[in-house]
């Protein structure tokens, strides 16, 4: 296992020695927290004008995560760059010459990047929650309320998983441009459109982001998702596993 430790150490050096790591992760945190703050503030001010139905199902925890929709895009950029930069720069040739066990190389890289995304995701999620609650005034919830801690921890897990999914896709597609031009519009627009059109609604619930977001909800509203928060996260994890296996299978047989 010493060899695995060596690969992890090497990947940690790689990830901390390029600027894109710092700016993608810090932007992910700032946007998630900032937008969460703004929307929580608006929700508090507009609460009286909301329709009754919405007021009854108001989920103060989920509202504080409103920045996640954009914040996750930065996590995707992080995940894509971590993997595809190897290809776009030619570094992959040095990397695979140093670590010809391709599985060890890929999963070493993904382990380090995921751990980093998880740490940043959890910190972001907790800050977004507390900042959001501070803005919600009398409509706030407490971390000790049932399901709230699970949702906040889940927010960090969600961010790590979405980054992982991006890493798997980038391992398959190799090009950063191609990876981003598929993943960004998909998670920014297409998934949301599919989720609101009645014809595709039922299928869209099983897309990675929509399934994963269930973990951040506390008030089980009439969202029609026929699964609980952890099953939702599991569905997302299955997508992630599929992307990673696909990336591994292609890396294994492809010329570098």
């Amino acid at each position: 296992m010493a060899a695995t430790a060596a690969v992890l150490k090497s990947e940690w050096t790689k990830i901390r020695s390029v600027r894109s790591t710092v700016w993608t992760l810090s932007l992910a945190a700032v946007i998630t927290i900032g937008l969460g703050l703004l929307i929580s503030l608006l929700a508090n001010n507009e609460f009286r004008k909301m329709p009754l139905q919405e007021r009854l199902t108001f989920d103060p925890t989920y509202i504080s995560f409103a920045g996640m929709g954009i914040g996750q895009l930065l996590m995707i950029v992080f995940g894509v760059l971590v993997v595809s930069n190897e290809y776009s720069t030619g570094m992959i040739r040095s990397s695979l010459a140093a670590v010809p066990q391709r599985g060890q190389f890929l999963f070493g890289k993904i382990t380090i990047a995921t751990l980093l995304a998880l740490v940043v995701g959890e910190i972001t999620s907790f800050i977004a929650f507390f900042v959001g609650q501070a803005m919600l005034g009398s409509h706030r919830t407490q971390i000790s309320n049932p399901g709230v801690l699970r949702a906040v921890v889940g927010g960090g897990l969600y961010m790590a998983l979405i980054a992982m999914f991006a890493m798997g896709c980038a391992a398959m597609l190799r090009s950063p441009l191609l990876s981003l031009s598929i993943l960004m519009p998909f998670f920014f627009l297409i998934s949301n459109i599919l989720g609101s059109v009645s014809a595709t609604k039922k299928v869209a619930r099983y897309l990675p982001d929509q399934a994963g977001q269930k973990i951040m909800m506390v008030v089980t509203r009439n969202d029609g998702r026929p699964y609980g928060p952890w099953v939702g996260l599991l569905i997302m994890a299955a997508w992630v596993a599929a992307a990673l296996l696909g990336g591994y299978a292609l890396l294994k047989k492809r010329d570098a």
Binding site: A6, K14, R19, N85, G90, R93, S94, A97, P100
Partner: protein, 323 residues
């Protein structure tokens, strides 16, 4: 020691490397020669496990590259294309490679010093010149203090000073008893550095021989004769069974007799000679002759039509684009 056994690589329909079998022996510089597109880089990439062979086998010290633990301590390589992240410093590039092979970190400083990059070690490699890039690539190759070194076209695009530096570096490494395998498309470059030669063309092995033997075999020697009495000379040569080729400037070229013999023959027949000089074809010429059949990208001057039965230049390109 690097052993290739019927190593073959196809890219779709195209055969890049075709049943290559040869051995790179330790302790000498082996030159790997071939025209552009002959399959040199592909062969080297297969040695490093970067490209996977379609068929055949390549082993480093008896092992497949993928089975080597800490491969940088066995074999170091300078590849033709840049193989680093431009946003990372030279130091961190080498550090992450060192860590993956459990090479102690102080070794990074050592190799940076060896190649003369210490002063720019902390700078991002984005601004590096071609020569600095080659130095960084060589530093990475030397990192694990390997016994086997591969250099793919190491002097390509370098200025004379850089070429000189790399040449000395390679000779020094071989003098330390290491195996050095260098590819080039320039015979003249190889003649200065290599002891042994492996020549390929269109992926096939054309020669696997020592440099001295290659020179003896391929550097065609002949005698140039010039005379105001060409008919008399031709008759005299003919009578002794020596064949002479007329060269374009009116001289004769004789390759199956020595100058002394020809001078005596001319004297015997009372033929006036204006020139009698032994000539040796250059190695570059020998190399061109050896690979002439297999050159991938011919530059035609438009005078000679493409040979029959062979596709015209550019045809293959059109086909592959249509496919």
């Amino acid at each position: 020691m690097i052993e290739l056994q019927a190593l073959t690589k196809h890219f779709g329909d195209k055969v890049a490397v075709d049943h290559l079998t040869f051995t790179v022996r330790p302790g000498i510089v082996t030159g790997f020669l071939g025209p552009n597109g002959a399959g040199k880089s592909t062969t080297m990439r297969m040695m490093l496990g970067l490209d996977l062979p379609t068929a055949g086998d390549v082993r480093i010290n008896g092992k497949h590259y993928a089975d080597l633990r800490e491969p940088l301590t066995y074999i170091g390589a300078l590849l033709e294309a840049k193989a680093w992240h431009p946003g990372r410093s030279a130091y961190h590039h080498l550090l992450c490679l060192a860590q993956s092979n459990r090479i102690p970190a102080p070794r990074v400083r050592e190799v940076l010093d060896t190649v003369g990059l210490t002063s720019v070690a902390k700078k991002r490699t984005k601004g590096f010149s071609l020569g600095m890039g080659q130095r960084l690539g060589i530093a990475a190759a030397l990192l694990g203090d390997p016994r086997v070194l591969l250099f793919d076209e190491p002097v390509n695009g370098l200025d004379p000073e850089g070429i000189h530096w790399i040449r000395n570096m390679m000779k020094g490494l071989a003098a330390q008893g290491r195996t050095v395998f260098v590819s080039s498309h320039l015979m003249s470059e190889m003649a200065l550095t290599a002891e042994h030669l492996v020549v390929i063309g269109q992926g096939r092995l054309l020669a696997d021989t020592s440099m001295a033997e290659f020179i003896a075999q391929n550097a065609r020697s002949f005698v140039r004769i010039r005379t105001p009495q060409p008919e008399a000379l031709r008759d005299a040569l003919h009578s002794t069974g020596i064949t002479a080729m007329a060269s374009s400037d009116g001289a004769f070229e004789v390759s199956d007799a020595r100058a002394a013999q020809l001078g005596e023959l001319a004297a015997e027949h009372r033929i006036v000679l204006h020139e009698l000089s032994p000539q040796q074809a250059s190695l570059e010429e020998a190399f061109m002759r050896l690979t002439a059949e297999t050159v991938e990208y011919h530059a035609h001057d438009g005078e000679e039509p493409p040979a029959e039965g062979r596709p015209a230049w550019g045809e293959g390109w059109k086909q592959s684009e249509g496919a």
